[in-house]
């Protein structure tokens, strides 16, 4: 089973990606996640469910489409079809910095430990590590670098404004 890294803990990833809002049963404590198009279509039904759903964004998604839902949503997942496809980094920053999303931002797809440091800087706070990759060893990569030159989501003051 894929692992979910969240708050420095390794959990089983029990989330289910629904392709429609009807009938699909969700693991009890797992997260249900629907693709953006489905959310936009059926958001009224979905909001009526008693367990909340998250939304899955692909690299070509326009994050402003979720602008009005961000208070309701507890989870947004962004898919990386391949780890060299870096669109998700920009989408994450837009959600956090421009639209003020406070919920859980999850990186899913081809997630490798060598991306974790940058992903965390761009505002992701949970990460699904696919089967066959060592989630335990991956934890070390959150500390690959001891600082960043740039303004980042978790530390909005860039290094040059902090130098003595």
């Amino acid at each position: 089973m894929p692992k979910l890294i969240k708050n420095g803990q390794i959990l089983d990833d029990t989330s289910v990606i629904l392709t429609d809002s009807e009938g699909n049963e969700v693991h009890e404590d797992g997260d249900a996640i629907v693709p953006l198009a489905c959310w936009l279509d059926e958001r009224h039904h979905l909001k009526a469910r008693h367990t909340s759903v998250g939304v899955l964004l692909e690299g070509d998604a326009e994050p402003s489409e979720l602008k009005d839902d961000l208070d309701y949503l507890k989870l947004i997942a962004i898919n990386f079809p391949s780890f060299v496809d870096g669109r998700g980094y920009s989408i994450a920053r837009l959600l956090r910095e421009r639209y003020g999303f406070k919920g859980e931002l999850r990186a899913v797809g081809d997630i490798q430990r060598d991306q974790l440091y940058y992903l965390a800087r761009c505002g992701f706070d949970s990460f699904v590590i696919p089967d066959g990759r060592d989630a335990e060893a991956a934890l070390a990569s959150f500390n690959d670098f001891s600082d960043s030159y740039q303004a980042t989501v978790d530390r909005p003051v860039p290094l040059f404004r902090r130098r003595k």
């Binding site: 690299g59 780890f83 060299v84 496809d85 870096g86 669109r87 980094y89 920009s90 989408i91 920053r93 910095e97 421009r98 490798q112 060598d114 440091y117 940058y118 992903l119 800087r121 761009c122 060592d134 690959d144 670098f145 001891s146 600082d147 960043s148 030159y149 740039q150 303004a151 980042t152 909005p156 003051v157 860039p158 290094l159 040059f160 404004r161 130098r163």
Partner: protein, 557 residues
Amino acid sequence: MYIYDEIDQRLIDDRVRQFRDQTRRYLAGELSEDDFRPLRLQNGLYVQRHAPMLRVAIPYGLLSSKQLRKLAHIARTYDRGYGHFSTRQNIQFNWPTLESVPDILEELATVQMHAIQTSGNCVRNFTSDQFAGVAADEIIDPRPYAEIMRQWFTFHPEFAYLPRKFKMALNGATHDRAAIYVHDIGIELVPGDNGQVLANVIVGGGLGRTPIIGSMIKKGLPWQDLLTYCDAVLRVYNRFGRRDNKYKARIKILVKALGPETFADMVEEEWKYLKDGPGRITQEEFDRVNAYFQPRDYEQFSGNDAGFEQQKTENPAFARWVSRNVHPHKRAGYASVTLSLKGVGFAPGDATDAQMDAVADLADKYSYGEIRVSHEQNLILADVRQSDLFAVWEAAKANKVANPNIGMLTNMIACPGGDFCSLANAKSIPIAEGIAQRFDNLDYLFDIGELDLNISGCMNSCGHHHIGHIGILGVDKNGSEWYQISLGGNQGTDPLGTKASLGKVIGPSFAQDEVPDVIEKIIKVYLDLRQDDERFIDSVQRLGIEPFKERVYAKAN
């Protein structure tokens, strides 16, 4: 030059540690070939024809003598005793083993050097004018801006996985020595009305398969906004640049598809949210960085050095070298010197470990211990007293870096080509060698005068053939190596005001052994048709390619 503080040093040490572990995981089979590739590329490591190739950054072309000695040491210890200075102010080592690369990076880190982002689909090493801070025609010293930008793109978390590579260049002089119109982003620094520094931002230029001259999308950007504005450009590119076809993935294709105006509007919309944020450069930071680029403690001279004038009169060979390889300096009594890495018997831009050590010694003795690397693949001593030029010339001769050919035909720019590069269609080094031999006569060379000749082994255009006055491109025809010739390219606004342009192909390509003859015919046409002291590029622009084409292809009749 800029000196790392404790944080800068810690970050490159972090990087070495990270890469050492990545290499270990790869060698242990924990990281697949495909997964390791982007990681090693972001550390400058290619897998080439014979062995890995490691590309080390020389940010905006500045090196200390200590750093150059370290490069010599690496050439000697991990390679075959030489290095290749590339067209983007990097040095490449062609023979290290993969296993030794973490050790090489660790050694480099001890002299504040690295191979970070010299390859891969990220923001690459930043290039600038090799005469920054000393050129007589300089308006604004680009170095502090270049350093501030270097720090901004280093390990930028949002832009490490762009659709394609991203190259930036910065210029602050009237003569565009940084070729800013053929970069993904080119920045021109200009003075504003009230003396404040402004930037004109050019995007979407580039060479390669689809050569395009960039478009200016922002005029008069205050310098404080450079980082946030570039963040906006990169964000638009990162989100909307094509990822389905690597030949259409550079920003130039996006800018062309949208049109420069629409692209500029999208950037403007994005920038609106960033411009007043914490990424705005502070005066304090500028002052901190600028302190490293203060003028030297030059001696006061009132004019040209009398002894130097006399040496020129007495020694025509010295005078000839001065006329090509010595460049005007801001300060009276000083000059900048180009040490040529172009000659017969070695590849353009190659230097041996002994040459590097010798140049480091020259820098210590005559030029404040600093060396510059030009995108024309030569080494520069920026601050030499005129009275020392003769001694520098003698030492340069002894080390075979005194070829008086700067700005002329044999100062060829060439990529490593098929001898080393696995992407090549054809070799470039033997072509350069053939031409160097053909034009070995200095009187002839001086008669021809200013001429840029550029050679690339394939469409990736690392030898910048599109912007050579004469460009040579290796092409593959049914599995054999052929060469296409173009005329009329120009790298950027030059001292006579000729602007950046792309060369035009003159016709069907040639076999390797025909190339020197073809070049010679082209030169003959120029010598026959030039008016007064018209330069080659100006003749080509006046005449078009027709007369050249006629003569070159006339043989069948």
